[in-house]
């Protein structure tokens, strides 16, 4: 085994671009492991973890490129590093347009700009967002690791200027039909939605589209907006905007667990919007009854309620399995070995992780997680599952200096392989998120791991139930039908929504408890 690295001073590339370079570089014959990253402290820590270090790396700065290679022979290391320019150039756009380097230059080039989309590393994000707000721009702030203090300040500055700050840690928005960040190809229509929940917004907007209706605007607020410190500044601004928008007839609000105080203050505000409102808040035990605000437990129910309002239909029947699905659950449970008892959810979507826990908890299951709905059910070590476990693999614990599982399936593939080693694994629950900027072929990335996990269970004399949901539309670049067909071929039971997949898992586990 041989190790080598090179440092290129003042060559900055974004993390997704470098991920693509690393993927191709690591596929070179003889390469065991590789890393292509910028010299930030977090990245240097990651290099130390894989045993790569040295003076050059210690001295590297955040705008210096580091490429490290661990390979079978020193010759392979040298040959890969010698071809670095080729790796970088083959992926890098060589457009004719001159490069712009600062926000100010961008504004000179596009004086009519009214929205800054910012996805720079978290430590620089607040500075760039302040510049954008001061220049009169709305901000979509994808970056995470921005302090609450900075978030409060950014939102105060924006409010003074009548501007909107979507984020920080905002994954999705649909502004007048334009998908920003991780968003899907969704038609326009009369339903508006505000969300402190990236994949929650994607699931809601996709289901509305798939039901034949459309979205006026979907406004992401960032995952901390309904924290006590921030107090819902963007949520309020977005709700008021949708209330005033003539194209929005019904407003939905989807949120990860809000702070209790923020939630209490929000409710009366929802009642004053003057339009029908549907609320879906994960982690909220109960809320006061309201004739104007309809509270629902799942995103699917929020979709159903919104459509019912548009079509002036009556009461909504809560989400449930069909008779055929129940029969299928019973059939699959009967094939399990006695020691197969636990559910393991390996998710890319944070909101799906909360929703799954909520649905299972309501049905009497105790579910552990790295992002628990109830603090007492936090995993001691996110690296090891415990009982029924549902993981948000997009959480910072897993993604620090590594690509998010919605962009690259490596983290989830490794975890599925790990989980499949255990004989007590009964049900593997997965989510797949399609749309702009997501992995181009998310099912293909996990296909072999799914087949391998099922084969491992079969070798042990049991059968692993793989249950999957696909969040996407027929207009998304990944071909939703193809992704669903591939999952079926891999042996998974496939659902068009996360909530339905979770309900099916509950039936699988329930049936087992009752006996065949």
């Amino acid at each position: 085994m041989a190790t080598g690295f090179t440092v290129r001073p003042n060559q900055y590339f974004d993390s997704v671009f470098l991920m693509g370079v690393n993927k191709r570089l690591s596929a070179t014959v003889g390469v065991q492991q590789s890393a292509v990253l910028m010299g930030s402290p977090a990245n240097k820590g990651l290099l130390a973890e894989i045993g790569v270090g040295g003076e050059g790396i210690e001295a590297a700065r955040p705008n210096d490129l580091i490429v490290a290679v661990i390979a079978d022979t020193p010759e392979t290391v040298q040959s890969v590093l010698a071809r670095l320019d080729e790796w970088l150039e083959s992926d890098h756009e060589s457009g004719a347009a001159p490069s712009l380097h600062t926000l100010a230059e961008g504004l000179t080039d596009r004086p009519a700009a009214n929205l800054a989309v910012i996805s720079v590393p978290g430590e620089y994000a607040a500075l760039e967002a302040r510049k954008a707000i001061d220049a009169g721009l709305h901000v979509f702030l994808f970056s995470s690791n921005v302090s609450l203090e900075d978030e409060v300040d950014l939102k105060r500055r924006a409010a003074e200027r009548g501007l909107l700050v979507m984020g920080p840690d905002c994954g999705t928005s649909l502004i007048g039909g334009v998908g920003v960040g991780f968003a899907n190809a969704v038609r326009r229509g009369p339903i508006g939605v505000v969300g402190a929940a990236g994949t929650g917004l994607q699931e809601f907007t996709c289901q509305i589209h798939n039901a034949g209706l459309g979205i006026s605007h979907a406004i992401g607020t960032g995952s901390h907006d309904l924290s006590q410190a921030v107090g819902g500044a963007t949520t309020y601004a977005a709700l008021d905007a949708l209330a005033a928008d003539p194209g929005t007839q019904v407003i939905a609000l989807v949120s990860k667990p809000p702070a209790p105080e923020s939630f209490r203050r929000l409710l009366p505000r929802l009642e004053r919007l003057g339009k029908p409102v549907i609320g879906c808040f994960f982690g909220i035990e109960s809320s006061p009854p309201s004739s104007l605000v309809q509270m629902v437990e799942t995103i699917d129910d929020a979709v159903g309620a919104a459509i019912a309002r548009i079509e002036a239909r009556g009461e909504l029947s809560p989400l449930s399995l069909t008779v055929e699905e129940q029969a299928r659950a019973k059939l699959l449970s009967g094939r399990r070995a006695p020691e197969q008892v636990w559910l393991r959810g390996v998710f890319s979507g944070g909101t799906f992780c909360y929703q799954a826990q909520q649905i299972l908890r309501a049905r009497g299951f105790q579910v552990h997680s790295n992002t628990p709905l109830i603090p007492g059910l936090a995993l001691g070590d996110p690296g090891h599952s415990q009982g029924h476990t549902i993981l948000d693999m997009g959480d910072d614990h897993f993604t620090l200096a590594r690509p998010h599982p919605m962009i690259d399936g490596t983290l989830r593939r490794q975890r599925i392989q790990e989980e499949s080693r255990y004989a007590d694994l009964a049900v593997l629950l997965l989510d797949f998120v399609l749309g702009f900027n997501a992995s181009k072929d998310p099912v293909a990335e996990l296909y072999e791991a799914i087949v391998g996990a099922r084969r491992a269970a079969e070798t042990r004399g049991g059968e692993l139930a793989v249950v999957a949901s696909v969040c996407g539309t027929d207009g998304d670049p990944q071909d939703r039908d193809l992704q669903m067909r591939m999952l079926t071929e891999a042996g998974a039971v496939v659902f068009p929504s996360n909530a339905q997949a979770v309900l099916f898992c509950a039936a699988l586990l329930d049936t087992r408890q009752e006996g065949p």
Partner: protein, 60 residues
């Protein structure tokens, strides 16, 4: 704020014009949707020197 000058309402009424800082794929996906977008080849300010960045931040 007067209704005729409400930047959020304007954002929702007209296609946005975007300045993109950070991940290039975000600019590319906006272009695919027909949005007027300019991508900035952003690099860490002050060579990534955190003390200098904090100083710049305080000046804003």
């Amino acid at each position: 704020m007067k209704e005729e000058n409400d930047p959020i309402r304007e954002l929702l009424e007209r296609p946005p014009v975007v300045v993109n800082l950070g991940l290039r794929i975000f600019a590319e996906s906006l272009e695919v949707q027909g949005v007027d977008v300019v991508h900035i080849d952003w690099t860490p300010p002050a060579g990534g020197d955190q003390e200098m960045i904090d100083l710049l931040d305080r000046l804003l």
